[in-house]
Symmetry: C2
Subunit: 348 residues, 2 copies
DNA sequence: GGGCTGGATGTTAGCGTTCACAATGCTGGT
DNA sequence: ACCAGCATTGTGAACGCTAACATCCAGCCC
């Protein structure tokens, strides 16, 4: 009795396809790479041999000789947060649409060393380009004097080195928030900012301050948070004790949520007593109590633009002159802001 | 006048290191791969040559000959959502800790075809193993009869094929939710479920139903949502009209938020009139109004366990016998649940 | 001291692809 | 009828690494 010990057959390689189609391996390669000079009938024959064998080309071998991998690297900080997660998602979709693959490194902490290590890791793996989504000051600095020679695009990185940067216009968003509140009759606007290490936090802070100054209003003391709802909650307790407070601009929606919670506990009514504006427009914001007025950031567009810029450099496409993508934030007015109520009867 | 046209110098390769260190390239390879039989002094020499030249090994060449890439693939659905994002994050951290790299494919829609395409894409790129984070029924089916021969682990996939699966014990979580509510004196518990296509939704639904039956309670009609806050909001309007309603178990926190919003608008007090339990414990839940009682899923642990199982298969580590990781959900009691209030005076 | 063991190192041959160049055959203009 | 020119196809040599085998030499036992 002979058992059918099927050979541990290797996966088919180009030579196998060539043999079956009765051509040389080079012709197979030409078909695969859409080389123009292949006779239609030959192409058909090769294609059907590929189909029969279930051949798939070995990309490692290809990468070895071409020196590119059609893989893009992404370095990101905390992809658990809505903003980075959405941006990475946008990047991934755009990259794949352009025929690229995406490898990702999520950093727990952003330091010059960790960013550099991540980029080294990615270049070792032969990525053709890198998008760095790391909106902290330290990441921006790490990028500025980069020893790596892989094309790179920064997201929210505002680097000094002049490399391409894609970001949302934070300062302008903050300006819109302030002007919206002032137009409702508020005398001034308080601000709970994000950590100083974050460029986005600084951009929003700057926009807020400038808008107030431009309108000739007093600029209240800045309160700092760490983006978390808890920080907003604590800020809420602080702000509830401020006399004459009527409007607050929170640096992100999560902190706005914490603030709303604190205000609810303390009997501060929104928007009757105090108007609140957030930033990000996370999916939950529309259903806060009250629904949050906030600034929408189009993270998908950020991802797309960064891939676009990266591919421009990679494939030396027509430059378009545009080295920076500045994407506007969009004010979404909901129930958490309203006209100032001068006859309010808050009890503190 | 002679211009110093510096050669477009290639990156150093192993042969360059070998020459500088006065050894053969194979010895360099041995040093790099921690082969035991290299004299200490030789190793030092090689290492310092590597340092001087800034040599980094070419992983494409390595992958070509070894047939592994030390890269793991992740197929995921909508990494914008908190759950998938956290899981992917956990996977990435665990993989990197184990010396693996992570490539990711995010799917917009889950179909058998799209999952298969993603996996083909990943195998083309030579990944050594794949984690599929795609908690829909269709993804589970796609995995069941997989033509690809790469080791795979499913997350939340509960496949019939018997491959390894890591998941949170949804049904048990739902049971905890129901028992918590019953213990507070509620007669029965309504449920707003997720889409039928999602295995998690079905698991929670099953657990809810079984727990009610086990306690001999009536099982109300199921309401379906799509996980979004808006769906919860609409369910809130429906449920506010239900007579005798005192407790609701929402299939996720986002829908719970929408429900809370609807109840606020309609004057239904939580927890005085109705108690509400969510599922997920997103960072925002603690700051809802009121803070949400919910079931915490340890997504990081899910990621770690899935990598652990995958590596077991890849490196044929001691199996541990465990082909499935079942991770318990943990009840977090907050302000949205309370004892039944029989003398309530709701006005409908 | 001769053969044997085993550590340390070198040599050679791929891995599967693309690139550069060569070779072939066909067309058409003169 | 001849040759240029082009489309089509084939040949051989990289790409940079690891695996397998070969070699050398020291130490050891009987």
């Amino acid at each position: 009795m002979s058992v059918d010990v099927s050979e541990p057959r290797r996966l088919p390689v180009m030579a196998d396809v060539a043999r079956l189609a009765g051509v040389s391996h080079q012709t197979v390669s030409r078909v695969l790479n859409d080389h123009p000079n292949v006779r239609g009938e030959t192409r058909e024959r090769v294609l059907s041999a590929i189909g029969d064998l279930g051949y798939r080309r070995n990309l490692a071998a290809r990468a070895l000789v071409t020196r590119h991998s059609r893989t893009l690297g992404v370095v990101s900080f905390d992809t658990t947060l809505y903003g980075p997660a959405s941006t990475v998602y946008g990047i991934e979709q755009a990259a794949r649409a352009a025929g690229y693959f995406v490898s990702i490194v999520s950093l727990k902490t952003i330091t010059r060393a960790s960013v550099l290590e991540a980029m080294g890791y990615l270049t070792d793996h032969g990525v053709d380009g890198i998008v760095v989504v790391a909106p902290q000051r330290s990441a921006a600095r790490a990028l500025a004097d980069l020893p790596v020679d892989v094309p790179t695009v920064a997201v929210e990185g505002g680097r000094s080195g002049g490399g391409p940067v894609v970001r949302v216009d934070q300062a302008d968003g903050a300006r819109q928030a302030v002007e919206h509140l002032l137009s409702l009759g508020h005398e001034t606007v308080w601000h709970v900012a994000g950590p100083t290490a974050w460029l986005e936090a600084e951009g929003r802070l700057r926009g807020w301050r400038q808008a107030l100054k431009a309108a000739g209003r007093s600029v209240p003391e800045v309160i700092r948070g760490d983006w978390s709802p808890r920080a907003g909650y604590e800020a809420g307790h602080t702000l509830a004790a401020v006399d004459g407070l009527t409007a607050v601009f929170m640096a992100n929606d999560q902190m706005a949520l914490g603030l709303l919670r604190a205000f609810t506990e303390l009997g501060v009514r929104v928007p009757d007593d105090v108007s609140v504006v957030g930033f990000d427009d996370i999916p939950e914001s529309e259903f806060f109590s009250p629904p949050l007025t906030t600034l929408r950031q189009d993270f998908g567009e950020v991802g797309r633009r960064s891939i676009e810029l990266l591919l421009q450099r990679l494939e030396s496409l027509p430059d378009g002159g545009e080295r920076r993508g500045l994407i506007p934030a969009q004010l979404v007015v909901r129930g958490s802001t309203g006209p100032i109520n001068r006859r309010r009867s808050r009890n503190r």
